[in-house]
Structures are given as structure tokens and as C-alpha cells.
């Protein structure tokens, strides 16, 4: 990942330079901009793909703040509102409504000359205050060696034979609240039918699943064979396969849950124009492949697929049918109910 060739950086600089040349800038160029994001391989991919490009094109260094978990990002931004030290930040779709409500995001100006890539992004990924960079789908991952009858629907998670071998995200996980919607779908109801979802949750408790706090723990549970079935994104399932565990991802009959991650501009940032340039670069067809190669996430730019080698393309693309059947949860609705659902979930699962 670190050994990217100079040529690649040059290509990226070219990608950045064009919009830079055309854009007008209101303020002086800062020495650096600060972006809040995740660490590990993600932060490195961002560094090699996007940060390198903006630095090569404009000389501005990007300082990544990887230290805070997503909710803390919002809190820090909030506390710094009158003296904002951050310029851009990244979250997953479930938390953006909260960030918007808390007033820590600048609205996206679709007409901005610095956001040229917007026209190439699938419209479903462009929101009022943020734009998604990559996406995936939550479905069922299972161990092909240890599971006799492959699952085909979310409802199959409730099969008695999986007792004690299911891994699921805890309510505090970023996709934790999704289990309620998934439960409702599995019961044949609407995703917003919380009561149906909680009824299914009660039944799931009897299955004695392993509840974990983060995605890496889900993946580790598969690798260590603590679990033979669970909820996971398509992309991370490929990663687990790469570790040598025989797992497969299934698009559930009820529809896989769409999930996306993206970037927004910090409210009252001092470098709004450059934050827009940064945002634009995350949407570039040339930078998104960094993430596809690292995580098997398809990019939200229509042209990013073509930049990939054919085997990778075949692996990460969703068929048109699948794209149609993707379930888009009402993230605003879920964000509004997060606190209430956390409490209800704890009462059902943690009371023991």
C-alpha cells in the first residue's frame, strides 16, 4: 500500500489538477487541512489515494485525525463549532442524519465549480449534506464447510440449528440498529415496523448469538470458527475468504441492506473551498479504486468500475437486479429512534 509508484501519484495529481485549475478560490491556500476518518487500512487507503492526490496537485498536506470513533467525531465537531479545527470528516450512512441534526455539517452546493465529480456519481448516493464514496450491502455470510443447508433469507438466521454459532452486531455497532429492521423484514413486515422487529429480536435471544462491537470482530468470529453464520457486508466477506476461511455471501430473499460511507464538510470550517476539493477527490473515478482494491468496496462513481482489473470488477459489481432489490433503510427514521431502540434492545438482550 505504501509502495505506490510515483506514476500513480502523478496520475492522481492530474485528476486533481483539472478541477483545481478551473475552480476559483475565495481564501488563501492553507498549509494543511484536517480530515476525520477511520484508521487501519482505511486511513492508509485514503492517504495513498486521496491525500496524496491533493498534496501532489496543490501542495496542501492532509492531516488525518483517526483517533475518534464516529460518535465522538460528531461531538468534537460540535464542541469546536465556534472555533472549528476540522475541515472534512467521514461517517457511514446511519450517522449522517445525527450529524446534520447536530448542525456540524455544511450543506453541499451542487453547483460548486469544485465538485465536478458529482455529475458522475449515482444519484442515490448524493445527499443534502454528504456524498457517499463507497457502498456495499449487508447480507448473510456463512461458512460453506460447516453449514449443511445454505441460508437464503434473513429469516434463516432464526433456524434452530444455528444456535450459539451466529455472530451479530451489538446495538452499539454502527449497524446495530439494523437488526430491528432486518427482524421486521424477516417476519414479512415493513422495515419500519419496530414492534415486529423487537418481537423477532426476542426470539433471536433464544438463539444465543455472539454480539460484537465492531465489524472486525464479526470477521474474526468467522475466521476463528466461533460463528458459522452472521450478518456481514459483501466486501468484508471477500476479505475473510482471503484469510482462508470458506465463507460465502448471500443476497437475502428479503433484500440486502444498502450501506454506504462518505464524506461531508465540517460546519464553520476555515477552508471550505479546499474541503470541497477534498470531497470531490473522494468521488473521483481514479481514487475510488484504491478502496476497491483494499476492501472490495465498489465506488459510487459510475466510471470507477472501469478503472478496475476485470476479475475485481466481476467480484464487486452488483447485478442490476440486485441493485434494484437493495433495501434502502430510512436512516433518518432510524437515527431518530436510535436512543429508544438502544434502550429497548438492552432490556431484551442485556437483562439476562
Amino acid at each position: 500500500m505504501r509502495r505506490r509508484s510515483f506514476l500513480k501519484s502523478a496520475a492522481l495529481a492530474g485528476a486533481a489538477a483539472l478541477p483545481l485549475a478551473r475552480a476559483g478560490f475565495a481564501a488563501d491556500k492553507p498549509a494543511e487541512i484536517v480530515v476525520m476518518t477511520w484508521g487501519g487500512l482505511w486511513g492508509n487507503a485514503l492517504k495513498d489515494g486521496v491525500d496524496a492526490a491533493i498534496e501532489a496537485a496543490s501542495g496542501i498536506k492532509v492531516l488525518q485525525d483517526r483517533g475518534a470513533s464516529p460518535v465522538e467525531r460528531i461531538t468534537k465537531l460540535k464542541i469546536n463549532l465556534d472555533h472549528q479545527t476540522f475541515d472534512a470528516f467521514q461517517l457511514h450512512d446511519g450517522l449522517w442524519p445525527l450529524a446534520v441534526k447536530e448542525g456540524v455539517v455544511e450543506p453541499i452546493d451542487p453547483a460548486s465549480p469544485r465538485l465536478g465529480n458529482l455529475k458522475n456519481v449515482y444519484p442515490r448516493f448524493i445527499h443534502s449534506h454528504w456524498v457517499a464514496q463507497i457502498f456495499s450491502a449487508i447480507g448473510i455470510t456463512y461458512n460453506t464447510k460447516l453449514v449443511k443447508t445454505p441460508p437464503a433469507a434473513f429469516a434463516d438466521l432464526w433456524r434452530p440449528e444455528f444456535k450459539g454459532r451466529i455472530v451479530l452486531p451489538d446495538i452499539t455497532h454502527s449497524i446495530g440498529p439494523d437488526i430491528i429492521a432486518i427482524g421486521a423484514l424477516a417476519a414479512g413486515k415493513d422495515a419500519k415496523d419496530a414492534d415486529a422487529g423487537f418481537e423477532m429480536l426476542k426470539r433471536m435471544v433464544g438463539q444465543q448469538p455472539i454480539w460484537v462491537k465492531d465489524t472486525d470482530s464479526i470477521m474474526n468470529a468467522f475466521r476463528d470458527e466461533e460463528a458459522v453464520i452472521g450478518l456481514l457486508y459483501t466486501s468484508q466477506t471477500f476479505t475473510v475468504q482471503g484469510w482462508g476461511t470458506p465463507v460465502k455471501w448471500v443476497f437475502p430473499a428479503e433484500g440486502a441492506i444498502a450501506i454506504s460511507w462518505g464524506t461531508g464538510i465540517a460546519k464553520n470550517t476555515k477552508n471550505k473551498d479546499w474541503a470541497e476539493v477534498y470531497l470531490n477527490l473522494t468521488l473521483d473515478a481514479k481514487t475510488q479504486p484504491f478502496f476497491t482494491k483494499a476492501f472490495n468496496y465498489p465506488g459510487t462513481n459510475k466510471g470507477s468500475l472501469a478503472e478496475l482489473p476485470p476479475e475485481l470488477q466481476a467480484r464487486v459489481r452488483y447485478s442490476d437486479d440486485e441493485l434494484k432489490r437493495l433495501v434502502e433503510l430510512d436512516q433518518s427514521f432510524m437515527a431518530d429512534h436510535r436512543a429508544e431502540w438502544t434502550d429497548r434492545w438492552n432490556r431484551i438482550v442485556a437483562a439476562g
Binding site: L41, G43, L63, R66, T75, I79, T85, D216, R223
Partner: protein, 264 residues
Amino acid sequence: MSRPAAILLVLLAGSAYLLVLGPILIVVASAFSAADFFGFPPSGLSLRWFTSFFATPELRAAFALSLELALVAASTATVCGGLAAYVLARRQGWLASLAQGLFLAPLVFPTIVLGLALLLFYRAIGGVPLFLGLLIAHTVIGSPFAVRAVLASLQALDPRLEEAGRSLGAGPWRSFRLVTLPLIWPGLLSGWTFAFIVSFGELNTALFLTGPGTTTLPIEIFSYLQFQGGQLVIAAASALQVGLILVVVLVVERLVGLTRILRA
């Protein structure tokens, strides 16, 4: 001591050491593993995780910052807690007990809320430089350990010793320095060590109080463990931490002779 009693003691003590050291041995052993993850049995030997650690500037910088912060914070915590313990040790009554409760309270308060409280407070007073902010937080968190350790030392100390020194003509400071200080030295050192350890490993206030460019090692580890950052380079970092302490202790022992200082 009777045979069966001795055997029982050894078994219990052995179990205690196994519980305390077991996970660490696994971690240190895994640092030398050729595999990608913790796993048993390890599939081969390799030093690549150590090279990976040293090749990562963020980890090195975070290591250095954590070390510096811990050294300073432990010292300030020991001074703060030690002073408080010295004054409160001999006193009884509800006021003294309340004061003791105050100095011990940070032990139990969830540090994540403390971190938020301090962050809000720093903003309210106009902003505090990042390192100083962290130092303050870690001093607060480390003081209880110093208070406890020095209190324990002082309680074991016969107050008449200091009085004797006083009656022989030594002023209060001299009496403290020549009589009390040498005797509570083990308590001070023990408190300092705990405060150092706590600061070095502290994560939750750091989550709020670090910022771009200033990250501590636990924060760096935390961020590394997000998104498949690689568990074993962290194992290497941990092995190095343990190795560092070992080296420090050996050096101090050579130079100063810990055993002589710690004459109980």
C-alpha cells in the same frame, strides 16, 4: 509451615501468576509469529511485525508521546496525590474522609464521561493546548494511585518516629526529609509506577482530548484495530512496551540499586 499448607500456597500463587502473565505471554509470543493473526498454535517465526512497527511513523510517534506524557503525568500525580496523602493520613473525622473520597473518586468515574467533561471545560476556559490538556486529565486519573500507595506507607509508619526526629531538634522539613521520606519512599515509587502505567495505557479521555497531530499509543492502537489494521503489529508494539520496561528496570537496578532503596 506444614507441607500441605505450603503446597496449597504454591498452587494458588502459581495460578495467580498464570492468570496475570498468561495473556501477555501469548501476545508477546504472537509478536514473533509469521501468521497474520493471533492464533494457536503459531504457524512460524518471524520478526516482520517488529519491522512493521518501526516502519510506521505514526506508531513510533505515538509511542514517544505516550512515554513522555506518562513520565510527566506520573510525576505530577505522585506530587499531587502524595501531598494529599501526607496531610490526610493522620486525620480522622468525616471531613478527612470526604477529602479522601474526593481524591479517590477518579478511580471509579467512567473516563469517557470525564474526557467529555474536561473537553467542555477546556473550551469554556478558552482552550487548552493538547498536551497540557492530556497531562491534566492523566494527573487527575493517576493521583488516586499515588494517594493510596502513600497512605498505606504512612499508615504503616509509626508517627512517633517523625516526632522523635522533631524533638531531637530537626525542623519539620528536615524531619520529613530525613525521617519520613525515606520510609514512605516505597509508597511514592509504587504510586508513581501505577500512575505511569495508567497514563501509558489510558484510552478513553484521550479519545476526546487528543487531536490531529497529537495521538497517544492507545489511540493509535485503537485506530489501527479499526478496519483490519493488523492485530500482530500491535502485538509487536506490546512486546516492545514490555521489553522497554524490562530494560528500564534493569538499568535502574544497576545504577541505583532498587533493593537498597526499597528497604522495608
